[in-house]
Amino acid sequence: MIRILSTFVILWAGAAPAEVQIKTPTSPGGIAAWVVEEPSIPFTALEIMFSGGAALDPRDKRGAAYLMTGLLEEGSGDMDAQAFAAAQEALAASFGFDVYDDTVTISVRFLTENRAESLALLKTVLTQPRFDPEAIERVRTQVLSILASDAQDPDSVAGATWSQLAFGQHAYGTPREGTAASVAALTREDIIAAHQRLFTRDTLSVSAVGDISAAELGPMLDDLLGQLPAGEGLKTAAVDFATEGGLTVVDMPTPQSVALFGHVGIDRDHPDFFAAFVLNTILGGRGVESRLSAEVREKRGLTYGVSTFLVGKEEANMLMGQVASANDRIGEAIAVIRDEWTKMARDGVTQAELNDAQTYLTGAYPLRFDGNAKIANILVGMQRQGLSTDYINTRNDKINAVTLGEINRVAAELLQPEALHFIVVGQPKGLNEE
């Protein structure tokens, strides 16, 4: 058993997904896209991403982008909400509209047999949305219901409390859904303005994977997106982000406390990013194999799950984590996490941990590319980040290039036990706010 195992490990070099052949056509009308031609299944996954999202809401219009996004399938052109839904269902096409703080995304899926009709229907959403008053009221009521439920949900409350503490008056400081008051005050004009603000050609990234050729895609994109306004280069406002170490408790009647914690992270373009990425993997990014999981879950049984993650927003970078434990055990879980944070900052990681994490990360990377929709999603994200198509073939080299000296220098710089702030939602015992 052991012998078989080590042979395999030595042979494993973390191959790149050589099968992904990306073409980068520019349409006759000037729209750049990344395409992978994969005709074996008669459908296409199309990903459209606009940089600029809910954080572009004017200060007193928080929730406008979210409400607008919720209204995109509620009527366009000569179709009301029900006629639009019937048309979409008849084509068996799906359009997933999502808005985040810094992006709006459209995840499209259509059958080859219905390609033209599906894109024509999507075009009405982008160019002729109706925003009927009746639809606005219907979706507004849904958003208010979501906000009311979020206010009672420990995870949502922890997230909202963290954002408020970290970003204050900046748009990042409030939920993208808005507040009950801001959503109630949104007008049809605010929604139209959000649509015009976000769907612009200057912030566009597009990828298509499936039963479509690069040559076919260009004219289709011109027809679908060519009429969008050029855009004014809007960007999320800059924000100063820093945390002070400590603890904030939000009282909620629940048997298990939820904790969200973190401090400043690292920019995707920073030369130390890959060292930080591997470091986070070892600390808490790697499921049950991470250090935090070993200490909090495996050794002590204090939680079902503890994890850490790097958050890269347009204007702020964070290293964050989460854990949930019974009210009488969360204090111990937090003490163990603080302790591990301090240890890793001071002593760094071992060569064996670094090697394991590198093997894991480089081996896992090609496994991400096993579906049209998954690949389309990865490609559009790469475009937005300004990466080249070649990144897929060089990314593992960057992971493998991280040395022990480098990662431990980054551990000492990135991990700041004194700045680590915990938000605890629940009724924790034996924990005092600092």
């Binding site: 909400a81 068996a92 009672q152 048997p255 204090l302």
Partner: protein, 444 residues
């Protein structure tokens, strides 16, 4: 050229032929069934072992043991140290996990295709080689208790569903939650885990599903080498579960929780499941759920309650057809502010009554049929999903032929069959109606 002519004529035959994943199957001498799903687009493989044992097979008083054992399966075995399996999968760039439901327990790894042998060597090792120690129990039981805290105790909606499911099943173990009742979960011990393991974990109670960039020939050689050498266990018994008596009284329940911000009504009816060789009623119920509550904008409940009378924020109908024993058909209505639960429930019942009297809109029916056909094409993008279909079906009383006929049966359902199924399932006496509400003092 031929294909183009077909496409122009709008014939869907070539597409249907295309839209079946390439599946092979064979049986090992020790009774372990093997299914291979081929997808050669990426050099990835999903390796799964599904055991024909789930929470509904637990002994009375031992709720949660099937799921607890699933956690313990990652501890020390004959050839692996505690945690080594997951570490090894990760060291090879893969991911692994496990899941338990009422009818099955499954373990899987997703990994580069050339790692398949390593996965089989480890998974076969823990099929009968688990070496639990008493020390493993207390800490891992704490983890599972925290899992119950996280998934159930922290969620009023989950607590409500748990109570409702318990009211639905009067005599069948589906009324007991998979994760276990807290008072029983806290008492699960070493002997319980070992006894459950020895009784149910054996090749003749397991199904191997391998999906991805592999051939049946490769899988056969490896499966015989690693799984084929494990002797069948004669202690494995056929699954005899207590069944439901006739339901003679509609049940109603109200669950109050101060953490509820959005009240709603949820109704479920006892319903037949997909049975081997007899899936037509289940297929009709799939349509019924879509027609009544599949799309907020075009379904019966959505049109009536969300658009016409505007009494509901959200409505839905659901049917989980794949189960070993009787399943449920459900309806949900979430009222807008100012509309009471009684009013929205009455509106829901009125909409169903009207539907039963007027029947099915044929355009709606055709749209749903089209979506079912399309979903088979989209499903091929996710080989892991196809693997799950086979694993779930084969541990829930269906055969490979049943799985492969299912898309055709769905295409052949008629509106009349849907109405017959609706009359069958809408039996008030076999229903539970639940109201999820905020704190009691708010009741007026």
């Amino acid at each position: 050229m031929l294909i183009r002519i077909f496409a122009v004529l709008g014939l869907c035959l070539p597409m249907q032929a295309q839209a079946q994943a390439k599946v092979s199957n064979f049986m090992l001498d020790n009774g372990m069934q093997v299914v291979v799903v081929e997808d050669h687009r990426a050099p990835v493989v999903v390796h799964m072992v599904w055991y024909k044992v789930g929470a509904a097979d637990e002994a009375p008083g031992k709720s949660g043991i099937a799921h607890f054992l699933e956690h313990l399966m990652f501890k020390k075995t004959k050839n692996l140290a505690s945690g080594e399996l997951s570490d090894t999968v990760a060291a090879n760039g893969g991911s692994d996990n496990a899941f338990t439901n009422q009818d099955y327990t499954a373990y899987y790894q997703r990994v580069a295709a050339d790692r398949l042998e390593l996965m089989m060597s480890m998974e076969s090792d823990r099929m009968t080689g688990l070496q639990l120690s008493v020390d493993d129990i207390a800490t891992e039981r704490d983890v599972v208790i925290e899992e119950r805290n996280q998934r159930t105790e922290s969620s009023p909606g989950a607590l409500f569903n748990e109570q409702k499911q318990a009211a639905m099943y009067m005599n069948h173990a589906y009324g007991v939650p998979v994760i276990g009742w807290m008072h029983e979960l806290k008492k699960l011990n070493f002997e319980d885990a070992v006894a459950f393991y020895k009784l149910h974990y054996a090749p003749n109670n397991a199904i191997l599903v391998v999906a991805g960039d592999v051939t049946p020939e490769q899988v056969k050689i490896l499966a015989e080498q690693y799984y084929g050498v494990i002797p069948a266990n004669s202690a494995v018994q056929s699954r005899a579960r207590t069944q439901e008596p006739p339901h003679r009284s509609a049940r109603r329940m109200t669950y109050h929780d101060e953490r509820v911000a959005q009240p709603y009504v949820s109704r479920s009816y006892l319903a037949p499941e997909r049975d081997s060789g007899d899936q037509t009623t289940a297929a009709a119920l799939v349509y019924l759920a879509e027609i009544l509550g599949g799309s907020g904008a075009t379904s019966v409940l959505g049109t009536e309650l969300q658009f016409d009378t505007q009494q509901a924020i959200y409505t839905s109908a659901y049917y989980g057809g794949t189960a070993l024993d009787n399943t449920t058909f459900g309806l949900i209505a979430v009222p807008v502010p100012g509309v009471s639960l009684q009013q929205v429930e009455d509106a829901m019942d009125a909409a169903i009554a009207k539907f039963m009297a007027t029947g099915i809109n044929i355009e709606t029916f055709e749209r749903i049929k089209m979506q079912m056909r399309a979903s088979e094409i989209y499903a091929m993008d996710n080989v892991e999903g196809i693997a799950n279909r086979y694993g779930a079906a084969l541990t829930q009383g269906l055969t490979i032929a049943d799985v492969q006929e299912w898309p055709r049966i769905l295409q052949e359902v008629t509106p009349d069959e849907v109405m017959v199924a609706a009359r069958l399932v809408f039996d008030q006496k076999a229903s539970v109606t639940g109201w999820l509400m905020g704190p009691q003092e708010e009741l007026k």
